[in-house]
């Protein structure tokens, strides 16, 4: 079986929604990243076999966004492209699928990644207004028109917020924040522990930025329409964040008894990530030295109400596939949807009870040491452009593994709707 290797990855700055990238649609954001990655690698567009991109809130004016990105980035018409959705793991799913395509010998060079412009998730007219408009178009006579008009209600103008609807589980009806509250209660995670974790995320992200660690994975974004401004760093990490500020914030989801606040949840963000996956033979023949080999990847399903524990199951499956132990992992990127959820995952990994009941194991999965977890900060500071984050974790992980000369690393995310996804990387080929 062909080996799938990660050649390199690049991302846009991650920018808080509703701010600087407010008027930049998702496909434009990703086009720049794909264009710049190909140029950075001096990779001729002709050798690319296909394009796979993850994206959740697909915009109606850029259906199959992967294709729009590929063509705008200057890839030839002949290269096929498709878009994948596994909610928060969509970006990782694109990379996973790329690896599968390599394993199947279907492709040798794949441009993949993820993108989300949460600024551009629309408001939607309610269904009764759509019905009203349809009736109005059908009405021919004045009588019919008057009759239709009389059915008009002002409430028809109150929009549905697609962003909020997207962050609500369609099966159990809980919002993502409420699923975090469930975990906080069940795993007994205090508000203070959550806030401390959040503060740490900001500190690490700020430091990583200051140390120039993101320079290699980020391409400057020249801001349209005038191009007179350049965004060269993430807008999200707060260098001045303090425990005091965090502790003052009110719980957003369970206003009375909850502990999940805007401060200890991930930020809503716009961003794009692109990566190039090749078969190891092709990489060698083109003269590229890969960042890492994709050792295994896995996706799992779990209880939607406790979607935050998805990573535990996903890690377990990916480790099993790679024939490795959690203790073999020298670096872990675990997406920070909520501080409560990250801490619950850590607890579950160490829990013998959980191992027995849920994983069917005699011993716990293992210990996730704080020193190797999200060492450059996570989504609480950097933000979580939902379709893009999965790809960022993989790219960030690979680059940090290389910096530290590590052999194994793992990236994993919880997935809204009750799933988990994980990927294990091994250094070199």
């Amino acid at each position: 079986m062909a080996q799938a290797v990660l050649i390199d990855g690049l991302r846009s700055p991650f920018v808080k929604s509703g701010s600087k990238l407010n008027d930049v649609p998702a496909h434009e954001l990703a086009t720049v990243v794909v264009r710049d990655l190909l140029a950075k690698l001096d990779l001729s567009a002709d050798v690319v076999d296909e394009v796979i991109f993850g994206n959740i809130s697909q915009s109606s004016d850029a259906a199959n966004v992967a294709r729009v990105i590929a063509l705008n980035a200057g890839l030839p018409f002949s290269i096929p492209a498709h878009t994948v959705v596994r909610n928060c793991a969509s970006g990782m799913e694109a990379i996973s699928e790329a690896c599968d395509r390599i394993h199947l010998n279907e492709s040798e060079v794949i441009v993949c990644g993820g993108v989300e412009s949460m600024s551009n998730i629309p408001l939607i007219f309610p269904k009764n207004y759509t019905n009203f408009l349809a009736e109005w178009m059908k009405a021919k006579s004045w009588v019919q028109k008057l009759k239709t008009l009389s059915s008009f209600r002002l409430s028809m103008f109150s929009p549905r917020v697609a962003l909020l609807e997207g962050l609500t589980d369609p099966f159990c009806g809980l919002s993502m924040g409420h699923t975090a509250e469930v975990l906080a209660r069940e795993w007994n995670i205090s508000r203070k522990a959550q806030d401390e974790y959040a503060l740490q995320s900001h500190r690490l992200a700020v430091k990583a930025g200051q140390d120039g660690k993101f320079l290699d994975e980020m391409t400057p974004f020249y801001l349209p329409p005038k191009y007179d401004e350049v965004i060269q760093e993430d807008i999200g990490p707060r260098s001045q964040q303090s425990m005091e500020q965090l502790s003052k914030l009110k719980p957003v989801f369970d206003k009375y008894y909850g502990s999940v606040t805007a401060g200890n949840s991930c930020q809503i963000t716009d961003g794009a990530v692109a990566a190039v996956i090749m078969s190891s033979e092709k990489a060698a023949s083109l003269g590229y030295e890969p960042l890492a080999t994709v050792k295994s990847h896995a996706a799992v399903g779990t209880d939607p109400k406790r979607m935050g524990l998805g990573p535990v199951f996903a890690m377990h499956k990916a480790l099993q596939k790679a024939n490795l132990q959690l203790s073999d992992m020298e670096l872990i990127e675990l997406n920070e949807a909520f501080a409560a959820q990250v801490l619950a995952v850590c607890n579950a990994c160490e829990s013998e009870k959980f191992a027995k009941e849920k994983l069917g194991l005699d011993a716990p999965l293992g210990n996730i040491r704080k020193e190797i977890l999200n060492v450059n900060g996570g989504a609480i500071a950097l933000g979580h452009p939902v379709g893009a984050s999965g790809a960022r974790l993989v790219v960030t992980l690979a680059k940090e593994m290389k910096r530290r000369h590590l052999r194994y690393g793992l990236a994993t995310l919880c997935v809204g709707g009750g799933q988990g996804a994980a990927m294990i990387l091994e250094a070199g080929t």
Binding site: E28, T31, V32, R35, D36, L38, A39, K40, L41, D42, S44, N72, A73, G74, P220, Y222, P224, P225, K226, Y227, D228, E229, V230, Q232
Partner: protein, 708 residues
């Protein structure tokens, strides 16, 4: 005689295919007119014919216009008028046919082609982008002389007609349909099918009449409104031509005068005016410039025909200043993705802004859709590293005019590109050889000198380093310049190349005139009255005084005393005056009003005289010096022919096309006169007027530049 084929259908329709023998395009000439006349008379007599369709046998060309060589050969106004009268018979003959006629247009339909079409009962054109319809006659110094001035206003209304004829405009099918110039626009696959249908089903009878709007009632349909339109149009024409180009004005008069006349009268007036214009030297010069451009487009840059150019698919630009940004925009506009490199993101951001503004303008002018502009814009990828340069076919360096900086860039490029990548410098005053001197594979190094502003100036000087630059590199560069829609001339690697070198003594002389107390604006106005788009001081402001000053010293070093720069530029630059870029130049802009910068006079210690008259001397001093420098260039083989000089001067500095070019102008003045004037000036002012040997030789033999 076989330029027309006639095919009769079962439904008794005649399909006439125009396919000019031995040519790639269809054009109308006296011979073709006679042939068509015979054919039409024949059809007229054939009682069985129910209708006629005219199509073209050429790919993507319907009728490109009248034969310009024939027009050029006209020597007197009587002859011109006769030619026009003869040609006018064609659309009239079509109008008089006893059966309906359909013009089925695909591709260019210009000048005489459109005038012919105006005689048809029904006009169908394809919606293809290749289909372009218009009357560009006035750009060649004539007016539509086949009834176009008379029939077009009746078809599309007075204002639209003026817009097309006076502006020498060419419209796409969509606009033609909207203005009712054509009756239908259809996909090209069904053009003939639909034309047959139109005749067979009598659809041609339902031709849409000109729509009468309130605006047209108020303006075009009454005497008062018309005179208002006339006055306005006249103002616009004078504003645009500054009185140098008589054709648009004459066309306006003809259109206005013939509005209410009968056809016979009207056509006579048109033919009269055509004859007048066609025999002028202005018309001949404009056509001469047209041929110069056509000839420049045909040159490959090499005398060896088997050296083929490489195709440029990917390019890089180093330096994101005004030139770099402009070049990047031009390339991406022409479909070539560009890697744009500069030292820092701020500079790149400025370069991208420059490009974006140009794209915005194109969208505003409806030359591009927003979507197209985005897709082109995104193909300029900014970078602070030399990444993504390995697979580029061509890199154009456009950093500051500093030899060591440019040499460093070329070494970087050598390291970051493949040995086949052509490396070009956009230097305006440095030696191309020096810039690439440290590089291995110098055969791929060349100069590509664009003019500022890049999107407006049509010329690019292709600078070949003698015995270094390879033939293949030259041929590729010339082809590339054509590919991006510019006009190339191949120039030797001498200081200032061709255009800037010729400009230098002229700018210098302007400073001497200024020293004598003639005011800045007076000098500029004199030059503008001669026909140049701007005077020497306005030009220096636009280029940047510091840049002009730097160049003047480089050229002084190269050419010695003859081009010793006047010290005014040094003084002005020392005082911090840089021109338009810091709004401190010979002119200053206040609230959009541009006026002389009074402080300049105190810096150079000159009091401008009160000057009541403009002297012909001034122009002679400046222009004759240019001619002299051009003659030296020809002697030294900087370019091969006087035609190259004229291409350079017309498309590189805007030397007035109605004068045919600098060398053409010299010939019209008389080389002997120029020689004797230069001798007088040399005695009066010194060495800088010393006539070139070539001028002396031509003067003595009574020859001209064009025929030496």
């Amino acid at each position: 005689m076989s330029s027309f084929r006639v095919e009769k259908t079962a439904s008794h329709l005649a399909i006439v295919t125009f396919d000019l023998e031995g040519e790639k395009i269809n054009k109308i000439s006296t011979d073709i007119g006679k042939e068509l006349e015979v054919l039409l008379e024949g059809l007229k007599k054939d009682r069985s014919i129910q209708g006629m369709i005219l199509v073209s046998g050429k790919k993507d060309i319907f009728i490109a216009g009248a034969d310009i060589y024939e027009i050029l050969s006209v020597t007197s106004s009587q002859e011109g008028t006769e030619k026009s009268r003869e040609a006018q018979r064609l659309p009239a003959l079509i109008e008089s046919l006893p059966f309906p006629s359909v013009a089925a247009i695909h591709g260019a339909c210009l000048g005489g082609g459109l005038e012919l079409v105006l005689g048809f009962s029904y006009v169908i054109a394809t919606d293809d982008p290749k289909t372009k319809i218009g009357l560009p006659e006035v750009s060649l110094g004539i007016l539509p002389g086949m009834g176009g001035c008379v029939r077009l206003p009746k078809r599309v209304g007075l204002q639209n007609a003026l817009d097309m004829i006076l502006g020498a405009k060419v419209w796409p099918a969509k606009k033609c349909f909207k203005t009712k110039l054509i009756d239908e626009w259809v996909p090209k696959e069904i053009l003939l099918e639909r034309s047959l249908e139109v005749l067979e089903e009598g659809i041609w009878k339902k031709r849409k009449r000109e729509k009468v709007s309130i605006q047209s009632l108020l303006l075009e349909k009454n005497r008062f409104g018309r005179s208002l339109i006339y006055k306005k149009a006249k103002e616009q024409v004078l504003d645009k031509t500054k009185g140098h180009y008589p054709a648009p004005l004459r066309a306006l008069e003809v259109i206005y005068e013939t509005l209410d006349r009968g056809m016979t009268d009207a056509l006579a007036i048109e033919a009269e005016a055509f004859g007048e214009l066609v025999s002028t030297s202005i018309c001949k010069n404009l056509m001469g410039v047209f041929f110069l451009q056509e000839a420049a487009k045909k040159k490959t840059g090499s005398n060896t025909p088997d050296i083929l150019p490489k195709v440029i698919e990917h390019a890089g630009v180093v330096g994101a200043g005004a030139m770099g940004g402009g070049i990047a925009q031009l390339l991406s506009h022409r479909g070539i993705p560009v890697r744009l490199k500069d030292i820092e993101t701020k500079a790149l951001s400025r370069g991208l802004s420059t490009a974006k503004k140009l794209f915005d303008d194109l969208v505003l002018k409806k030359k591009l859709t927003t979507r197209e502009a985005y897709q082109k814009m995104i193909q300029i990828s900014p970078t602070t590293q030399y990444s993504g340069f390995k697979h580029l076919d061509l890199v154009i360096e456009a950093v500051i005019e500093d030899l060591s900086v440019k040499q460093k860039v070329f070494l970087d490029l050598q390291a970051s590109t493949s040995p086949e990548t052509i490396l070009a410098t956009n230097t305006s005053s440095l030696s191309v050889k020096d810039i690439g001197s440290a590089c291995a594979h110098p055969e791929r190094i060349i100069g590509l000198h664009f003019f500022n502003p890049v999107h407006k100036m049509p010329l690019v000087e292709v600078i070949r380093v003698k015995e270094v630059t390879s033939e293949e590199t030259v041929v590729t560069a010339v082809q590339f310049v054509k590919q991006i829609g510019k006009v190339p001339i191949v120039v030797k690697d001498v200081s200032g190349f061709l255009v800037n070198r010729i400009l230098m003594p002229y700018m210098n002389e302007a400073c001497y005139l200024l020293e004598e107390g003639i005011s800045i604006s007076m000098i500029d106005q004199t030059v503008e009255a001669f026909g140049l788009p701007m005077g020497p001081f306005a030009l220096t402001d636009a280029v940047g005084i510091d840049i002009a000053q730097k160049a003047s010293h480089v050229m002084y070093q190269a050419y010695g005393e003859r081009l010793k720069p006047h010290d005014f530029l040094d003084k002005v630059v020392q005082a911090g005056f840089l021109g338009n870029k810091n709004n401190q130049g010979f002119y200053k802009k206040d609230k959009k009003e541009k006026h002389e910068n009074a402080t300049i006079y105190s810096i150079i210690d000159v009091k401008p005289r009160e000057q009541a008259y403009v002297s012909q001397d001034w122009i002679e001093r400046m222009i004759f010096l240019m001619i002299n420098e051009a003659a030296l260039c020809l002697e030294e083989g900087v370019v091969e022919q006087p035609q190259d000089v004229d291409v350079g001067m017309v498309f590189g500095m805007g030397f007035p096309p109605f004068r045919g070019g600098l060398m053409k102008y010299a010939d019209s003045v008389g080389v002997d006169k120029i020689f004797s004037e230069l001798e007088i000036l040399e005695r009066r002012y010194g060495l800088r007027f010393k006539p070139a040997l070539l001028i002396e030789r031509l003067a003595r033999s009574g020859g001209t530049f064009y025929e030496h």
